[in-house]
Symmetry: C2
Subunit: 467 residues, 2 copies
Amino acid sequence: MADGSALPRNEVGINAALGILKQQFGERFQTGASIREQHGHTTTWIDNQPPDAVVFAHSTQEVSDIVKVCAAHRVPVIPFGTGTSLEGHVNAPAGGISVDVSQMDKVLEVNAGDLDCRVQPGVTRMALNEHLRDQGLFFPIDPGANASIGGMAATRASGTNAVRYGTMKDNVLSVEAVMANGEIIRTASRARKTSAGYDLTRLMVGSEGTLGLITEITLRLQGIPEAISAASCSFPTMEAACETVMAVIQYGLPVARIELLDALVVKAVNNYSKLTLSETPLLLLEFHGSEAGVVEQAETFGEIAGEFDGTGYAATTSTEERSKLWQARHDAYWAMLALRPGCKAVATDVCVPISRLAEAVTRSNDKATELDLIAPIVGHAGDGNFHASLLIDMGDAAEVARAAEFVSWLNDMAIELGGTCTGEHGIGQGKRPYLRKELGGAVDVMGAIKRALDPDDIMNPGKILPS
Amino acid sequence: MADGSALPRNEVGINAALGILKQQFGERFQTGASIREQHGHTTTWIDNQPPDAVVFAHSTQEVSDIVKVCAAHRVPVIPFGTGTSLEGHVNAPAGGISVDVSQMDKVLEVNAGDLDCRVQPGVTRMALNEHLRDQGLFFPIDPGANASIGGMAATRASGTNAVRYGTMKDNVLSVEAVMANGEIIRTASRARKTSAGYDLTRLMVGSEGTLGLITEITLRLQGIPEAISAASCSFPTMEAACETVMAVIQYGLPVARIELLDALVVKAVNNYSKLTLSETPLLLLEFHGSEAGVVEQAETFGEIAGEFDGTGYAATTSTEERSKLWQARHDAYWAMLALRPGCKAVATDVCVPISRLAEAVTRSNDKATELDLIAPIVGHAGDGNFHASLLIDMGDAAEVARAAEFVSWLNDMAIELGGTCTGEHGIGQGKRPYLRKELGGAVDVMGAIKRALDPDDIMNPGKILPS
C-alpha cells in the first residue's frame, strides 16, 4: 500500500552489526518480536516493517557508536522517538537497527534570558512544557500527539499554534546530529539569527532521519502570555468559514489558533463529548496577548465573522470554559473514529494557499461523497492546512481501493492549487509518489544531497526520496 | 586582506565563454573596465576582483543559458543585484562572468488574499514596497540599503525589523533557481507551510550564489499595521540599555524595531543631523498594531525602561515625528563617517545570545580603546546583533593592522559567547576564516553539499567555504 514496499536486505551486514551491538549494549539491545513490531509501528495503512533490532541509546556518543557500526557494515539506521509519525517514517523496509532515543529525555539547559533551551531528542513536548512552566515560558508547537522534540524536528511538525508561532523550522535554533559516517556536528550557534553559511539547521529539520540522526535540539521559547482567550463561531457553510479565516489573516489579526471543523466533525464531537454545538462548520480560536489585547482581538474577530454570517460567537478568558471549548478539537480524532466503530482513520495532510482553502475543502467533500467515503475534515485553517480523515473498513478491499483513489486525487488537487501534499506530516513512505509531482527537478537536487551525505543509503532508507 | 586572495584562472575556458556570450547577448554583454570594476565592487576593505565580463540577463531562461555556457567551459558565474553586500560576495577571485539581474525587476504576481507575492530577483525592496502600498501590504525586511530581493535572499539578510518579522529565511516561501548544470528548479509550493522533503528553500537562502542563482522569489507579505508608533529612550550605560532590551524580549513585547546606538553614534548623529539627543546610549523603537495596541506597547516599554534608569522617553504616533526620530538611525552610517572625514568604515556583524549582548558591546568598546581605534556601535539589539564600524585611515598600515586584529578578536569573542561572526551580512570572502571556528565539522557537511551540487566549483567560487 502506498510506497511502502520492502527493499533488498544486506543479511551479512545486518548479522554482523547485530552481533557487535548486542555485545556493546547488553539489555539495551532488543530483538523480541513485539518490541520490533512496536518500533515499526505506523498509524497509517502502510504495512508494518519491523527493524531487526532496537537499541536504546543514552548519549550522543552512543548514537555515534551505533551509526559507526552500521556504516561499517552498511546496515540501515532508523531513529525512533515516540512512534507518533503518520507516514511510515519508522518502518524498516530494508531491515536494520531502530535507534530508540526515548531515554535521551533530559532538558539540558534553559536560558530564560534568551528565551531558548537545549534538549535531548527524547524529551516530549508535554514534558518540556511541564519543565518550563515555573519559569513562565512555553514551547508553542503542538502537533496534537505528545511527540518527542527530536521526532518533531525530524518531520518539521507544526499543528494548531503554527499560524502564530510558526513550525519547527521557525523554532529550532540549531541541532546536534550524528551524520552517516558517525561524525557529530552542530549546525549553528545559539544566536537568534545567523548568516553563517548554509542553513544546515533547516536542512536537518524535516529530513526525517535520512541525512542524520538528531541528538540535541536548541529551541526558541516564548513567554507564557499574560492573557489567553478562546472563542468559537459557527458558520452556515465551509465557504463562509474559510472566507472568515482569509479575512482574519489579511487583517493581520495575530490569532494563536484558528481551527476549522466541518459539520460532520461537529456532529461527531457532540455525540462523543455530549456537547450541543450547532452542527454546522465551526471555527475554534485562541488569542494570546495582554489582558486588553485579547479582548480587542476577540472583538475584532467577532466583527469579521459577522460579515460572513458567523453565529453563536462566544469568547471567554476563563481557563475552565476555554478547556471545554477546545475539548471539541482535542476529542475530534476519537469522536471521528466513533462515527464508524471498527474502522481505521487514514490521515491526509494537504496544505493550499488560503485563498484556495474553501475550494479545496468543498471539492474534498464532493469527492468523498462521489466515492461513497466518510471523510470528516479538521483544519489548521490559518495556514491553509487541513486533514480529511478517511474512516475505512480495512476488510473491504473495494472501499480501501476507493480510499486510495481519494488520497491520490486529494494530493494531486492540492498540488494543482499551488499547494503541497503534506503541510506537516512529512513524506515518509506514504507520500513518496507525490514528491516529484509537486517539486519536479528539485527532487533530483534532494537526491544529490542525500547521496553526498549518505552514499551508502543507510540513514532511514526508503523514506522521502522516490525509488 | 581577509580571505580575498586570487584563485587560479581557467583562461582557455574563460576566453571560450566570453566569445559565445558576446555572440548571444550583444550589447547586454559588457567588458569595459569600469563596469567590470563596479561589478566587483565591495564595500569592505577586500580588494576589488572584477569579473571578466558582465551579462545583463532578462529572464530565467537566459540565466540558464549563461550558466550552461559557463558549465561547459568551467567558468565562474557570479550573481549581481545591486552590489550592496559587505563581505566581497560579488568579487571574482578566479575571474568569470558576473550575471547582473538588476533588469529582471518585475513584480510577477501579488496574491493579496494569501499575503504573498512572486518577484524577479532584481526588484529592490523599496520598489516592492512602492508596488504593494496601494494594496495595504508591505514586505518587512529592511537591511538599510535598497538591496535587491534576490541579493537579500542569497545573503539571508535581515535588519531593523527582524526582531518582529524574522529574517529572509522566515519570509521566503520558495525560490526558483538555476543550478550549476543550468537546470531550473523551484524549491517549494506557495503553501504557507510544508513538510515536503528537504528544505531547499532555506538551503538556497543564504547560500550566497554558491549553489545556484536565484531567479524568482516567492515572499510572505504583511498587512500594513493599523497604527505605528515610534519611541526613543536614553540610558546611562550600554549595560542598562541592553538589560532593557533583554527584559522587553523576555516580556514578549512584540516590538517591531528595537535599535541600539552607543553614545558615540548619538554624538555623531547630533552633529550630522543637528539633533539634540542626550549623548548617552539610546534605544529607538517602533511598535506596530492596533491604535490601542501600540499605545499599550509603548506604555509597557516605558515601564520596563524605567526599571533600568531610562530617561527622556517619548513615544509618538505622528508620522512626521516618527520620521524625525528614526532619522538618527538612518543617518547613522553617514554621521559616523563624518566623525573622521576621509576614513573608510569597515563593518562588523557579530550576533550573540541577548543575555551576552551587554558584555559583548562593553568588551568591544574596551578592545577598541585598547587598540586606539574608533568603533562606534549600532545594533539590532532585539536579536543580539550589533555592528561596530571601524573608522580606518586605509593609508596607515599600522592602523589597518590594528583594525584587522580587532575584527578577528571580535569574531572570536562572539563565537566564544555562543554567538556567530555574522548575524546578517554573510560569510562572503571576508569571514571564511571564521566559519570553521564557529561550526567545526558542520563545515565539512557544507563542503560535501557544495561538491555534490557544483562539482566544478563554478558557482561564485571563493565564497563561504574555507579554501
